[in-house]
């Protein structure tokens, strides 16, 4: 995700940006100004759409809020533009918070639909309010001053726009490569996974939406003081859709995609607006036809946008090995008497169906316990009850003597129960290192602001080092910087174990870890689990594969029809008549 391209390329880009206004004609400077303004908005959409998997067509309305707030305050009350920016951001933040709150708890398509409605409403509000100048707009907005310099000329303003745009790029890039950034990127992998590692998904989605809205507001404020005039037209939903196109064309997965997309769409629009009316022999917004068709082709053939193609051309930098750092604060591991996990008469009913029927068993510290049973026995439901993914109907589950029944997944994770998933849930584009570092989410505390301003260096180094240690512990050190999705299934399951280990758990819950593995992979997995046990880890294994559990576990609990059928050492279970009956349908 983070662009690993050399500083030289970045320096060349900034240098090119800096010299353009020195010799380029006025027209190019104007274009450059607009590209900068649009990049800031598209950047928010990259985060929202490409990274968090949400979207908004209403960004133009947020731009409008920023522009109109400063236009109104500076012309009617003569306030400082900088004060107006603060007020504009406060208003935008409040509106985005509200819209996010009412839509983001529901399915993904309600947010975009709400932003369309909101974008249209605000346009008509701007156009019909007398105090905002109606459809003719407001003029006479003062020029900005910075350290006594009046930024009246387009040339001077260019540096302000691009200074702010680069600052926003820098902050967003920092954010993506941080504790909250990993959490944001995990949102696309499904809420269940994110929440199992302590990510408050609903809250984070709203935060990202607000962040994108604030970027749009800043762009609008800059626009108002550049044009010195505002009217409702540039804030209509059509422009909002164009912003989204910029993010998608550029590549909604990278911050540089925002700049690329803004550049392409702005230049293309210029060219098409000159050419198409001549081609069709009349005037009109015919570039819309081309934009629409290009967009559909892009989505059909290159859904990740154009940036990945450019990135491939840039020289690759070999990521340096993760530098060692002090470990993150570790859990208190005082040995305790009695059971580590105590399941007492756990019951789960779905309507009339009793999936788990008053099941009781215990896990002792340091053992590997296997939970087995035929299909539909209730193993997975039991697993969900322990991990907090499903709620108990009745009964009690205690961990280290404290009740955890009914606690949300992140609370259970916080207390020291790590888990893997039956269907591997990794973020395929993210490196193994970042995937595993997500496991340590609850051991850090960096928030959005600290991450964006790159003030999280020490904690981030410790997190990365911790993740690298977990990766080395499971023997995947050579894959640290590979994309998780590029590994074979067996290795991906091991990455899931490393991710669970990064949370510093006392108990590991493994959901069918051997499913779909080849023979050698199973042996490696068994060896890894034995090593972990030797290091003091306690493991609960839900498994189908008889050979695998028989050779590995200390004890087995056999379930059938939601009830405990038998419990004991593997050898005892193998000779248990009831178990043979359940598995083989009677004594053969």
């Amino acid at each position: 995700m983070k662009a690993h391209w050399p500083r030289a390329a970045f320096a060349a880009f900034v240098a090119a940006l800096a010299v353009v206004p020195l010799f380029a004609p006025e027209f190019w400077v104007t274009l450059g100004n607009y590209i900068g303004l649009y990049s800031i908005v598209a950047l928010g959409l990259v985060l929202l759409t490409g990274v968090a998997g949400q979207t908004s067509f209403g960004q133009a309305a947020f731009v409008g809020l920023g522009a109109y707030t400063t236009a109104y305050l500076t012309t009617k009350f003569g306030t400082s533009p900088w004060f107006a920016l603060a007020i504009g951001m406060a208003i935008t933040g409040a509106v985005a918070l509200f819209l996010g709150f009412i839509t983001l708890r529901m399915k993904g398509h309600y947010l975009p639909l709400a932003t369309i409605a909101w974008g249209i409403s605000l346009f008509y509000v701007f156009g019909n309010l007398e105090m905002l100048g109606g459809h003719t707009g407001m003029s006479g907005i003062p020029a900005l001053s910075l350290f006594g310099f009046e930024l009246k000329s387009e040339h001077r303003y260019y540096y302000l726009i691009w200074g702010i745009a680069l600052a926003c790029l820098w902050a967003t890039d920092n954010l993506l490569d941080s504790r909250p950034g990993r959490a944001i990127r995990s949102l696309k992998g499904g809420l269940q996974m994110a929440e199992a590692f302590g990510v408050d998904a609903a809250r984070l989605k709203i935060v990202v939406f607000v962040y994108a809205a604030l970027l749009a507001c800043i762009s609008g404020w800059l626009y108002a003081h550049l044009q010195r005039f505002v009217n409702p037209t540039p804030f209509f939903i059509t422009q909002g859709i164009e912003y989204l196109f910029m993010a998608v064309v550029g590549g909604a997965g990278s911050v540089w995609g925002a700049v690329l997309g803004a550049t392409i769409i702005t230049l293309l629009k210029q060219v098409l607006q000159d050419w198409l009316p001549a081609l069709f022999g009349r005037s009109g917004n015919f570039e819309l036809i081309v934009f629409g068709i290009l967009m559909i082709l892009l989505l059909q053939f290159a859904r990740d946008g154009l940036w990945p193609w450019i990135e491939r051309l840039l020289p690759k930098r070999q990521p340096p090995p993760v530098p060692p750092a002090a470990p993150l604060p570790a859990r208190d591991r005082t040995p305790l008497d009695g059971a580590l996990l105590d399941v007492q008469k756990a019951r789960k009913q779905f309507g009339g169906l009793v999936a788990v029927n008053d099941l009781s068993f215990q896990i002792r510290p340091g053992e590997i316990l296997g939970l087995i049973g035929p299909n539909g026995a209730g193993k997975s439901t039991t697993f969900s009850l322990i991990s907090g993914a499903a709620e108990l109907t009745s009964g009690d589950i205690r961990f280290c003597g404290e009740p955890i029944g009914g606690a949300p997944p992140y609370e259970i994770a916080r207390r020291g129960i790590g888990r893997t998933f039956q269907h591997v849930k990794l973020i395929p584009q993210m490196t193994v290192l970042d995937n595993v570092a997500l496991g340590a989410y609850l051991r850090g505390s960096t928030g959005i602001l600290r991450a964006a301003l790159a003030l999280d260096g020490a904690e981030e180094a410790r997190t990365k080092a911790e993740a690298a240690r977990a990766i080395a512990r499971v023997g995947l050190g050579s894959h640290t910087f590979d994309a998780a999705g590029s590994l074979p299934l067996g290795k991906q399951r091991i990455v899931e174990i490393a991710r669970a280990l990064a949370a510093d758990p006392v108990l590991l819950l493994l959901d069918e870890p051997a499913a779909g593995l080849r023979y050698l992979e199973k042996q490696e997995l068994a060896a890894l689990l034995r090593t972990l046990k030797a290091e003091g880890m306690t493991v609960l294994l839900v498994e189908h594969d008889m050979d695998f559990v028989m050779g590995l576990t200390d004890r087995l609990v056999v379930m059938d029809f939601g009830e405990k059928l038998a419990e004991g050492r593997p050898a005892e279970i193998q000779n248990n008549d009831a178990v043979r009956e359940a598995y083989l349908g009677g004594v053969v």
Partner: protein, 345 residues
């Protein structure tokens, strides 16, 4: 406000609401079967009105060019698909279906358009043109992405909206059109004047809704669509082709939209870009129904029509603001009543 004005506004609201209801049904239908949020529905409405207005003057409507163009693209895509699967012998059949069918419609309209036939024939020609566009649009734009996320399909919808908007401007120009009413008579019932046109709009909306209910309840194809809406993978396993279901859905939805266009033409002047707002009002209704319930969506659309009509009396400048802000309390209510966390696809 006196009762006469209230009655008049209510009549307006119900008439518009009935049209929005047709749209809302089309949108719910498309969403449940294909997971597509069909933003360009509004363009189909506008094209319906503008095509009919063109036929009124005896001109060959520009819609035909789009029809033929999309048919050629769809035909080529189908043929290429057959060749790639090694079924070259099926190419002629595919071409006949995807290019021949629409070309037949286009030829018929092209031949009959200058004759200025009776109004009802013009309406039928309009409906044939617009309806034929539906499956073509699905084939060309959506089918290659049928398995993509709702979000990607939504972005495609918005891109299509842009394209169709630009094409509309190209073919119909910037001038608005109105179409004649089916009837200019009015009845006086209990002292309230009711125009026959309004009655016709409401009656034909009800008739179409009834026909849809019959189609879904009684016919095999209707049941197949319902099955696809409930479970796409399951429907596929019992032999319902998702491509076919998509094309059929868009045929029905295009027919509903085209018909809405014919109904709305006499009420409002329609420009090439009027469809967007009309379509979104249908969406507000559909969202009230959670994009899943037909009766609630229709009722929601009726509510939208009434609110629009009354707010145009009290605060005409803020008519659109009020209608589109209505979505906020609706979403708030849905959000607060949605208790479980829905896992995104």
């Amino acid at each position: 406000m006196d009762p006469t004005i209230a009655a008049l506004l209510a009549q307006d609201g119900i008439t518009n609401g009935a049209i929005y209801a047709l749209l809302a049904l089309a949108l719910v239908l498309v969403f449940t079967v294909t997971r597509i949020v069909w933003i360009p529905a509004g363009e189909f409405v506008a094209w319906g009105t503008l095509t009919l207005a063109g036929l009124q003057t005896g001109a060959v409507p520009g819609t035909l060019k789009v029809l033929v163009g999309m048919a050629v693209i769809a035909g080529l895509m189908e043929a290429w698909g057959c060749v790639r699967r090694g079924q070259a012998q099926r190419v002629p059949g595919r071409l006949a279906l995807w290019i021949g069918g629409p070309a037949l419609v286009a030829a018929l309209v092209w031949w009959l358009a200058p004759m200025q036939l009776p109004f009802i024939v013009q309406v039928l020609l309009t409906l044939a043109t617009i309806t034929a566009l539906g499956p073509l649009l699905y084939r060309v734009a959506y089918q290659p992405l049928a398995e993509a996320s709702v979000l990607v399909l939504l972005i495609v919808s918005v891109a299509l909206h842009f394209t169709l908007l630009g094409l509309g401007l190209l073919f119909f120009g910037a001038e608005g059109s109105r179409t004649p009413a089916f009837s200019s008579a009015s009845l006086s019932i209990a002292g309230v004047n009711i125009s026959v046109q309004s009655l016709l709009v409401v009656a034909s909306s009800l008739a179409l809704i009834g026909a849809l209910a019959l189609f879904f309840g009684r016919t095999l194809y209707g049941k197949a669509l319902r099955a696809t809406a409930v479970n796409r993978a399951g429907a596929r396993l019992v032999g319902i082709s998702p491509d076919f279901a998509g094309a059929l859905t868009f045929t029905l939805a295009a027919l509903l939209c085209g018909f809405s266009g014919v109904l709305i033409g006499p009420i409002t002047t329609i420009y090439y870009d009027s469809g967007f707002l009309v379509g979104l009002k249908g969406f507000v209704g559909a969202i009230i129904g959670g994009l899943s319930s037909y009766p609630i969506a229709a009722a929601g659309a009726l509510l939208v029509g009434l609110i629009e009509s009354f707010s145009s009396f009290w605060a005409s400048a803020f008519k659109e603001v009020i209608v589109f802000t209505l979505i906020i309390p609706v979403l708030l209510w849905r959000s607060l009543t949605t208790t479980h966390h829905e896992e995104d696809e």
